[in-house]
């Protein structure tokens, strides 16, 4: 009998010990933010939706080949007047081809960042955008060619 009551007391005591911690945090400042009214800043390296600046693209097809899920559809055309673009190191490069089609299926994209990592001219990049839900699958294919 005494053992029984002793047990109840130790159990109650351990509940109280836990309660102490919860009460401490009950009065502490909340650690969450009220999304979407409040938003947190994305970090500098954040990998969001893939975007492309087709003026810079030299149609080297690096991104198309490295993409593990093959979600980039790119077509280029030989241009008569080669334009100059800057590569990542700041050196000028000749752009012999212009992009006629640059579609990225962001429903397939796994935001691995391989494409942006290897693009010589930083034409394809991962933006900070992360709210990319859409009502249809077609809307999820982004057309970047002008």
């Amino acid at each position: 009998m005494i053992k029984y009551f002793k047990q109840i007391i130790t159990e109650l005591w351990s509940i109280l010990k836990g309660m102490k911690i919860t009460i401490k945090y009950f009065f502490a400042k909340p650690t969450t933010v009220q999304y979407p009214e409040e938003r947190i800043q994305m970090t500098e390296r954040f990998r969001g939706m893939v975007k492309a600046d087709t003026d810079k693209c030299i149609s080297c097809l690096y991104c198309v080949n490295i993409c593990p899920v093959s979600c980039i559809d790119l077509e280029g055309e030989k241009s008569d007047a080669p334009a100059k673009v800057m590569n990542k190191e700041g050196k000028a490069m000749k752009r012999i081809k212009t992009v006629t089609k640059f579609d990225v299926n962001i429903a397939q994209c796994i935001q691995c960042g391989f494409c942006a990592e290897g693009c010589p001219t930083a034409a394809i990049y991962l933006s900070k955008e992360h709210e990319n839900s859409a009502l249809s699958r077609e809307e999820l294919i982004k057309h970047y060619a002008k």
Binding site: S14, G18, I21, T31, R47, P68, Q111, G113, F114, E117
Partner: protein, 391 residues
Amino acid sequence: MPESETAKQSEGFSELSRAVSTFVGEELVINFGPQHPSMHGVLRLIVKSEGEIVSEITPVIGYLHRGMEKIAERLNYHQFMPYTDRIDYLASMNCNFAYAATVEKLAGIEIPKRAEYIRVIMAELNRIASHLVFFGTAGLESGAWTPIVYAFREREYIVDLFDMTCGQRLTYNYFRIGGVADDLPKGFMEKARAFCDYFEPKIKEYNELLSYNEIFIKRTANVAVLPPETAVKYSVTGPNLRASGVKWDLRKNEPYSIYPEIDFDIPVSSGEKGMVGDTWNRYIIRMREMEESVKIIRQCLDKIPEGDYLTKVPRLFKAPPGEVYCRFENPRGELGFYLISDGGKSPYRLKIRTPSFAHLWVLPEISTGGMISDLIVAFGSLDLVVPEIDR
């Protein structure tokens, strides 16, 4: 009470007890999952029970099978890295680590010292993050709702660290063959140190809140005991094996990376509150491992050298023909990659040995004969991640 009414009542009782006895005699088949609140992912258990007692458990797997091993055969070595994130989404860094190191071993690539340190820091941070999820769900499964909130609050700090390093919060894809994708960002060291200082006292708080709570101990001690012989027989590894009293940790037994240079202990359970290998031991071993991980991270932060973070490996590099098996200590146990190369630009065959797959099959062994409510607690204590079972 009039006599006739008492007679009627007693007749009712006997009728009820007869119904119960026929019910007990019958086996009841319960489907746990594939979608069930206490399933961690999409897994199905066909549970046969007699009353409250579980008499048979048949796990049904395959709902999350993505054919990763086959996918590896059509991608080049670099391209498979993001897929390893998705083997065990709670410990992506560790899976990245294992894959990268396997390919490096096969191809004989030396990686810079700094990269090794960064890798170990990330792996240990991810181990803590993974164990925190375990801590939270262990609470949930035994009916305590508070721990998961605290666990995710702390995990958020780790995820923030990962976010600033590689830009993602769940599937990191941070490791590269030859090193890591990018150097540690500015402010990482301070933040990581601040996290260690912040987190250590929290473990004590958790112990007070849940680990040594009498009711939690009653609920878990001596429940679903996994004896060491059974554990070894089923190739159980990681914390689940150490909870059964077997001191086996690949970081010590088959040291890889920079673990030999670091001083840390391997916690092994000694049956403090119940039998060795029970649910409570499987729980507490992870709390102790988190302490050790903090210790490792601190040492790495102090010792990390300056220098390169990546050895450049060509995009279409071809690994020499041969085969290699490498195993690594993941938060859940031994993760192994068996890689065969025929000299081409993608693996000829990549077999992935995951810990959860082995752990699932001890569940019938330890839970039959127990109560249904204990089944959930035991299931949670094995810390299974279903995508890892199915790959």
